[in-house]
Amino acid sequence: MSGGMIFAGAGAVLFTMGLVGVVLIGPLLRRILAFNVMGSGAFLVLVGLAQRDGGADPVPQAMVLTGIVVAVASTALALALARRLHRLTGRTTLSATDDD
């Protein structure tokens, strides 16, 4: 198994763990972290899988850089919203009753 493949496998596991976290975790901060774990998993797969034969590939590396920036942006917005919700309601979770 090549180095790239190990990264990709780890990415698959991280992605799944993050997904489980997003589904099961209530507190917003931890849920946002779980989402970031998911994202990191996807990035690892993107870079690792493409370089499984050992050669470097700048294309997925550039894509991951783009992806990281996008993830930073999303995380910031999510944190701002979570914080705002906490300020307005004192809650740190989304309740099931918001659904009307």
């Binding site: 698959a12 799944t16 209530g26 590939d57 942006a73 705002r84």
Partner: protein, 222 residues
């Protein structure tokens, strides 16, 4: 609380998904298209020497343009949800930390400039440089030197948007000559440097803003 059964089901399903995914990846044949070769072949025309920078700002520069838009957009979202209260006065920090921050900040700016310059030939570039600038601002804020943000004034808004706007103007101007972001090879290096310089400043401000605008919200937390 989530019932144990649901928890177990989710975890089990996820584990089998991860397993299937890993096996599927191990099973993959070699890809039919080999892009690194194409990147290599076109490096000379890209205007930069580092392949990742070439992909990021030339071959797939359009992705990067939109990505900077996403980052600016996130800041807009943060500003839009934020309270309109005036920013709280900076909390007086400890003198030692303040002195350290005052020392570190100029050095960090220097590092950022280096990273920007280095990006053309080795890992580095506008994003890394912008991140360092943003970090410097956060450092200054945490030590009580830089206040949190209220609604940004015109000059700050101009600084936030400048990088994106330069990128956009370059894209539009090049469109007038053919295609979006189709740099003439002779000027590619200079144009990319121009874009990167603008991005460094704006990205630094945006990343700092994401933190400083958020920080303002904590002022009168119960």
């Amino acid at each position: 609380m989530i019932p144990l059964l649901k928890r177990a089901a989710v975890i089990l399903a996820a584990a089998s998904f991860a397993g299937a995914l890993v096996f599927a990846m191990l099973d993959l044949p070699a890809p039919g298209v080999h892009l690194p070769a194409a990147v290599e072949a076109n490096m000379a025309a890209s205007g930069v020497a580092h392949p990742v920078t070439a992909v990021l700002l030339n071959f797939r520069g359009y992705d990067t343009l939109l990505e900077v838009g996403v980052l600016l957009l996130a800041l807009l979202g943060v500003l839009a949800v934020g309270a309109r209260a005036t920013p709280p006065a900076p909390a007086p920090g400890e003198p030692v930390k303040r002195m350290f921050a005052r020392l570190a900040a100029p050095l960090m700016v220097l590092v950022a400039v280096y990273l920007l310059w280095a990006g053309a030939i080795q890992p580095g570039g506008a994003f890394q440089a912008g991140a360092v600038l943003g970090a410097a601002a956060v450092l200054l804020h945490l030590t009580g030197i830089l206040p949190g943000w209220g609604a940004p004034g015109l000059r700050l808004r101009a600084g936030l948007a400048a990088g994106f706007l330069i990128f956009l103007v370059v894209a539009g101007a090049l469109l007038a000559q053919g295609a979006v972001l189709a740099y003439p090879p002779a000027q590619a290096g200079r144009l990319i440097l121009l874009i990167e310089a603008g991005l460094t400043v704006s990205l630094g401000l945006i990343l700092a803003g994401l933190f400083l605008a958020l920080s303002r919200d904590s002022g009168d937390e119960a």
